[in-house]
């Protein structure tokens, strides 16, 4: 059974001259413990797809069609209330600018604990214990839980977000440009941590990135978006060896160029 199956997602921007479709009929399939890389140029609709996948589209935008199958349960994405109990618990979106994703006025440990304790599902002591384990899992000591975000480095803040994902154990993890603004070495480290986390949780990871080399290295499947549509998708190895769509071909060429230049 797949971790998540998205079918026929449409995102539209209502306007005076009729709605403008920004995401047009996207269907994606995430397997448990595997990484699906979503590629494409800026403005292709990758981030909108990610936001729609956790019900967090900015105000005038709306999902006009789309179904999500999670755990054998189908969600109608056009209804915002469908996200209650799903967002954060079963689908977790980590978006661009990881550094600013933590509330500056709250200790980072509390920011993990509060997510664990939604609906009073968990006792405070247990939540704190899991938070401690989660931070430790990503190389942060227990002292880090009592720190405020500004007291941590950018890399540590990213680890806090990974710890949060580990603690929440979602079935689907969506990471929008998790390696943005990192140097090559930290990019690899971050991608590795994301991939390991996915395997460990048995979650499906939807990875959105401009980092072609990282994608080629870490993704099990790839999907290429252009103009709000998925123009090509398949197993990463096959897609990279025999690209059929012109955009995929040009992406693969630039990847070869990058790797050639690197060697």
């Amino acid at each position: 059974m797949s971790a998540m199956e998205l079918s026929d997602l449409w995102v539209e921007l209502p306007g005076p001259g009729g709605p403008r479709s920004l995401v047009r009929g996207v269907s994606l399939r995430l397997e448990p413990g595997q990484v699906l890389g979503l590629m494409g140029l800026s403005g292709a609709g990758k981030t909108l797809t990610a936001c729609a996948l956790s019900g967090l589209l900015p105000a005038p935008l709306e999902v006009t069609r789309g179904r999500l199958r999670l755990d054998g349960r189908a969600l109608d994405l056009t209804r915002p209330q469908a996200w209650r109990g799903v967002r954060g618990r079963r689908v977790l979106l980590l978006f661009q600018g990881a550094g600013a994703a933590l509330d500056p006025l709250m200790r980072v440990g509390a920011q993990i604990t509060e997510a664990l304790r939604q609906d009073r599902a968990m006792a405070a002591a247990q939540a704190r214990q899991i938070t401690g384990q989660a931070l430790e899992r990503f190389g942060l000591n227990s002292d880090a839980a009592r720190r405020y975000p500004h007291q941590l480095s950018g890399g540590m803040r990213r680890r806090v977000l990974l710890s949060l994902a580990w603690a929440l154990r979602p079935q689907v993890l969506i990471a929008d440009e998790p390696t943005n603004g990192l140097d090559a070495a930290s990019r690899d480290e971050m991608s590795l941590m994301f991939t390991q986390l996915t395997r460990e949780l048995g979650a499906g990871l939807l990875l959105i990135s401009h980092d072609l080399r990282g994608m080629a290295r870490w993704a099990d499947h790839l999907a290429v978006m252009e103009g709000g549509q998925v123009v090509e998708q398949g197993r990463a190895a096959e897609l990279l060896n025999r690209p059929s769509h012109p955009l995929t071909r040009s992406l693969v060429e630039s990847l070869r160029y990058l790797e050639g230049g690197h060697a």
């Binding site: 977790l92 978006f95 006025l105 405020y148």
Partner: protein, 319 residues
């Protein structure tokens, strides 16, 4: 982080600055009696219906120390003020401190009621912008709050009296005693500040709404109530604390007009009465007290903000 060394360093510096400001205020307050035309001795005698004969005046001037050089007079006066001896009223001969103490509770009642109004109303106004059902209300309140900001308080007072006291007959026109008499003066004093700060907070709230950490709080699946109380409000309100602190100080100064209109027996009216009667010790006393209240409420607000915002606490050690 209470008891951290940055706090005592910061507090020591700020208290130093406060003392400097208060010293400046004391200079201004004292120089009133040098600059103001007229001889205090003559004033006193006239208010006692005595003939200001030169002999009597010279006697009085000597007993008050007015024949000594200005700097000596200032030092002697400052020494007394520091011991909370503010002198005696020219008109009644009563100690100034006692008169102020008698009037202070009424003013505090009025200022604190207005302050509560400012905090509550500005928060509500600011939140209307993000409340989903409140969009029309937000649109309606924008021009109204702009109007309230621009209305002078004496005009607002007359409007409120015409509407609620004369028109509807719900509240007394003026006077002191009981909650009913408090409503109109408190509204007059607080509405303008509440509207202004509501507008500031509204911008702040919208800014926080666009921050990544707020979107991430949603992505974590937190309930709207928790997002509002634990993430949106703290981040939007902490910068407001300074503004609120300053408004508490200026509310105390604003009582002059409002108390006069509503016949409220507080410090504001005492100040007006003493100015009209050229009762300089009383004027000096009230001015010093208002300056002290303004400076201390700003300091308290700054301190509170630093305690609540960990980023400021960290910077405080360096600055």
């Amino acid at each position: 982080m209470s008891g951290a060394p940055w706090l005592s360093v910061w507090l020591a510096r700020r208290l130093g600055a406060v003392l400097l400001v208060l010293w400046g205020v004391s200079l201004v307050a004292f120089s009133l009696q040098i600059i103001c035309p007229g001889d205090p001795a003559e004033l006193i005698l006239r208010t006692r219906y005595e003939t200001p004969a030169p002999k009597k005046m010279a006697q009085l001037r000597r007993s008050m120390g007015l024949d000594r050089p200005a700097h000596e007079q200032y030092l002697a006066w400052l020494g007394r003020v520091l011991c909370l001896d503010l002198g005696r009223s020219y008109r009644t001969g009563e100690p100034v401190a006692a008169q102020i103490a008698a009037r202070l509770p009424a003013t505090l009642e009025l200022a604190l009621a207005s302050f509560a109004l400012v905090v509550a109303l500005s928060t509500l106004l600011g939140l209307c912008a993000v409340w989903r059902g409140g969009r029309w209300l937000d649109r309606l309140l924008q021009p109204i709050s702009l109007g309230l900001v621009s209305l002078p308080s004496y005009w607002l007072a007359l409007l409120l009296i015409a509407l609620f006291a004369l028109g509807l007959g719900w509240l007394p026109v003026a006077g002191f005693g009981g909650p009913a008499t408090l409503v109109l003066p408190a509204l007059t004093l607080g509405l303008g500040a509440a509207a202004m700060q509501g507008r500031v907070l509204r911008v702040k709230v919208l800014e926080v709404m666009g921050q990544d950490y707020l979107r991430f709080a949603m992505a974590k699946g937190l309930s709207p109530g928790r997002i509002l109380l634990r993430h949106l409000l703290p981040n939007a309100l902490v910068p407001m604390i300074t503004l609120w602190g300053m408004s508490l100080g200026s509310l105390l100064g604003g009582v002059v007009v409002v108390e006069t209109i509503f016949a409220w027996p507080g410090l504001g009216r005492l100040l007006v009465e003493s100015l009209l009667g050229r009762d300089l010790p009383l004027v000096q006393g009230v001015v010093l007290l208002m300056a002290l209240a303004f400076v201390l409420s700003s300091l308290a607000a700054d301190l509170l903000q630093r305690l609540l915002d960990p980023r400021l606490s960290a910077e405080g050690s360096g600055v």
